[in-house]
């Protein structure tokens, strides 16, 4: 047999992945694919779909297997060598608790969502990309659970994530985000998750959490994070490809996609406030400020992306200028909010020490020093008087993003921003013009939202009548899983382990 010329990557990829689907004859295509037209997106030619990464299944398995081998080897080493003792400080684990509770369930939801759309698109290239992503997302949920399970042996607050997912007030924030996407059609789903979340905003989720983990000695999370991130690169490019493909296929698609970008940029931004707050307040060793991260990953990288899409008639998302105004104060408003509702959180909160306050001053400047530093010092004063501040009254919550309404007016940091929106003969409340716009565009969706404080007041939270009964319903142990870090079992254990660790080292020396 004569040796033929080796096929290039593009040709190989085309031969291995094209022409494997067919036009159905026993049932009409519209019945076989009932979901991909109702959103109004018009596709003239699915063959124009260009896979961003030309990754065939054999290459996929090979590289994923290699990453898995490395990951689990590191997790094993971490566990065997008591890696939990090498983190910067016991407070750091609260960032990991936030991840386990807030992000890991979203990975699982993404797995389900991509499995669904992986059946829903009539284009085979899109279906394959979504199916691979569904496997990736399940892998992320699994690897996170493996990485974090080690911490569950030593620290409180980890045990209840599955039970809490459908019950805890602050977890309705990520949950409602994803359910809004899951209950949409396939094009909106991929635009919202692959593009808006995983391309535009993912760097603001993974980079801070994973760099934060590296900086704070958490090898397990760092390794998981970087192992997942290369999957994210494929997901990002799927998102960008879906958006470009949709915009190129028909001009009718442009306003539909623009409306989705407006909605999902804003929803993703609101969700990321939790990550920003983690960066500024929960990491004992700081990587960068939320303000800096937003400047790099949105104002530079994100805006560059939207400039590229300008050729299709896409403009920057609505209210993007508000995110720039808020970058100076978002985290300083959110942390005291979490702090005061701490009796119902499955993670600890605390007032930053002086070195941390100085870092915040350096990063945030004058407004921090006039407004937020004195607020935090007052909280410290109350704690030192033995009157550690808790607000045990339930808050007003935004009907769309489901975050308690602590955000202030974009041009006035002394006044909370409340927008009243009416639908189905009932008044609802939103935290911003961004969320109010989303509500008004699809009120039938958001009137259905399950708002945790309102569920409590209607007796739907296991009959809990106050925040303490509510925490019990969440399976939280007061003071151990919840509330103030200082004096908690996590804190006392950490001090004891560090002392033992040092004395063992001293003996050995």
């Amino acid at each position: 047999m004569a040796q033929g010329k080796k096929l290039g990557l593009k040709e190989r990829y085309a031969l291995l992945t094209r022409g494997l689907d067919w036009e159905t004859t026993y049932q009409p295509m519209d019945k076989v694919f009932p979901y991909d037209k109702y959103e109004g997106i018009r596709i003239k030619d699915w063959d124009a779909w260009a896979d961003p990464f030309r990754l065939t299944m054999d290459a996929y398995w090979k590289y994923q297997a290699e990453k898995e081998r490395k990951l689990y080897a590191i997790l094993d080493a971490f566990q065997q060598n008591n890696g939990q003792l090498n983190i910067s400080d016991g407070r750091y684990l609260n960032a990991v608790k936030l991840w386990l509770q807030g992000i890991t369930p979203l990975e699982y939801a993404a797995h389900r969502g991509f499995a669904h759309v992986g059946r829903g698109f009539r284009g085979a290239g899109a279906r394959i990309a979504c199916q691979m992503q569904s496997i990736d997302e399940l892998r992320h949920a699994q690897t996170q659970l493996h990485a974090f399970s080690h911490y569950n042996k030593y620290f409180n607050g980890f045990h209840g994530f599955a039970h809490m997912r459908d019950r805890a007030w602050y977890l309705s924030i990520p949950k409602s985000f994803f359910e809004d996407a899951l209950s949409a059609g396939p094009f909106e789903f991929v635009t919202s998750i692959s593009f808006a979340f995983e391309y535009v905003l993912t760097n603001l989720l993974f980079m801070p959490f994973v760099s934060g983990a590296a900086y704070n000695g958490d090898m397990a999370t760092t390794t998981f994070g970087f192992s997942a991130q290369s999957d994210e690169s494929r997901h990002m490019t799927l998102g960008l490809e879906v958006v470009k493909f949709t915009l190129e296929q028909h001009e009718d698609n442009v306003p539909i996609v623009q409306a989705w970008l407006d909605k999902w940029f804003w929803r993703g931004y609101r969700l990321l406030g939790l990550v920003g707050t983690m960066m500024d307040y929960m990491l004992p060793k700081k990587v960068m400020s939320w303000k800096e991260a937003w400047e790099i990953y949105w104002e530079e990288n994100g805006v560059a992306l939207f400039h590229d899409l300008g050729r299709y008639g896409i403009r920057l998302p609505k209210h993007h200028e508000v995110t720039v105004k808020e970058k100076h104060r978002l985290t300083h408003e959110m942390w005291p909010t979490l702090y005061q509702y701490g009796n119902a959180l499955s993670l600890h909160t605390w007032v930053p020490d002086d070195a941390e306050l100085d870092w915040l001053s350096e990063k945030y400047g004058e407004l921090f020093d006039r407004m937020y530093r004195p607020r935090l010092l007052f909280l410290r004063e109350l704690e030192q008087r033995g009157e550690r501040y808790y607000n045990n009254r339930l808050p007003m919550v935004c009907q769309v993003c489901q975050i308690p309404i602590f955000y202030t007016e974009p041009d006035d940091p002394t006044t909370q921003c409340v927008r009243i929106v009416e639908a189905a003969d009932t008044k609802h409340h939103c935290c911003s013009d961004g969320c109010a716009d989303i509500f008004r565009r699809e009120p039938e969706k958001y009137v259905q939202a399950l708002i945790p404080p309102q569920q409590v007041y209607r007796g739907e939270a296991g009959g809990a009548r106050d925040i303490f009964e509510y925490a019990k319903w969440l399976h939280l142990e007061p003071g151990a899983d919840t509330s103030e870090y200082r004096g908690s079992p996590d804190h006392r254990n950490w001090e004891a382990w560090q002392a033992a660790h040092k004395s063992t080292a001293a003996d050995a020396a």
Partner: protein, 120 residues
């Protein structure tokens, strides 16, 4: 603008509608320029509760951590209801004052302007 949907109808009542509160109302209240309280607070009360009773028996005890609260004189405050100026009669009931399910009340306390000159 309606939700794009499969099937004939996509209409829902609000989960938060008044009938689901057993005759009580849920309403919100915010003390302006007192950002120690991060968010407006939600309360579920019977609509025939006297406004002053609500303020003294529920609101004031919930807000004891702030140095201004002990000096707070509700009769001297300026009020808003659903972001419009409002002149409540503290001796009348919530309902008689027009406080209904999902009302949003705000008040400002002249001379008690929060901490640090910044409304904390």
């Amino acid at each position: 603008m309606a939700v794009k949907h499969l099937g004939e109808r996509y209409e829902f009542l609000s989960e938060n509608r008044a009938e689901r509160y057993g005759g009580d109302i849920n309403f919100y209240i915010r003390w302006q320029r007192h950002l120690l309280y991060a968010c407006p607070s939600a309360y579920r009360c019977p609509p025939d509760m006297k406004l002053r009773d609500f303020l003294e028996q529920m609101y004031r005890p919930d807000h004891g951590a702030h140095p201004d609260t002990a000096k707070l004189d509700f009769a001297a405050c300026e009020w808003w209801h659903d972001q419009q100026p409002w002149h409540p009669d503290l001796e009348q009931s919530l309902a008689a004052n027009g406080v209904a399910h999902m009302s949003y009340i705000e008040f400002r306390s002249p001379g008690l302007d929060g901490m640090h000159g910044m409304g904390n």
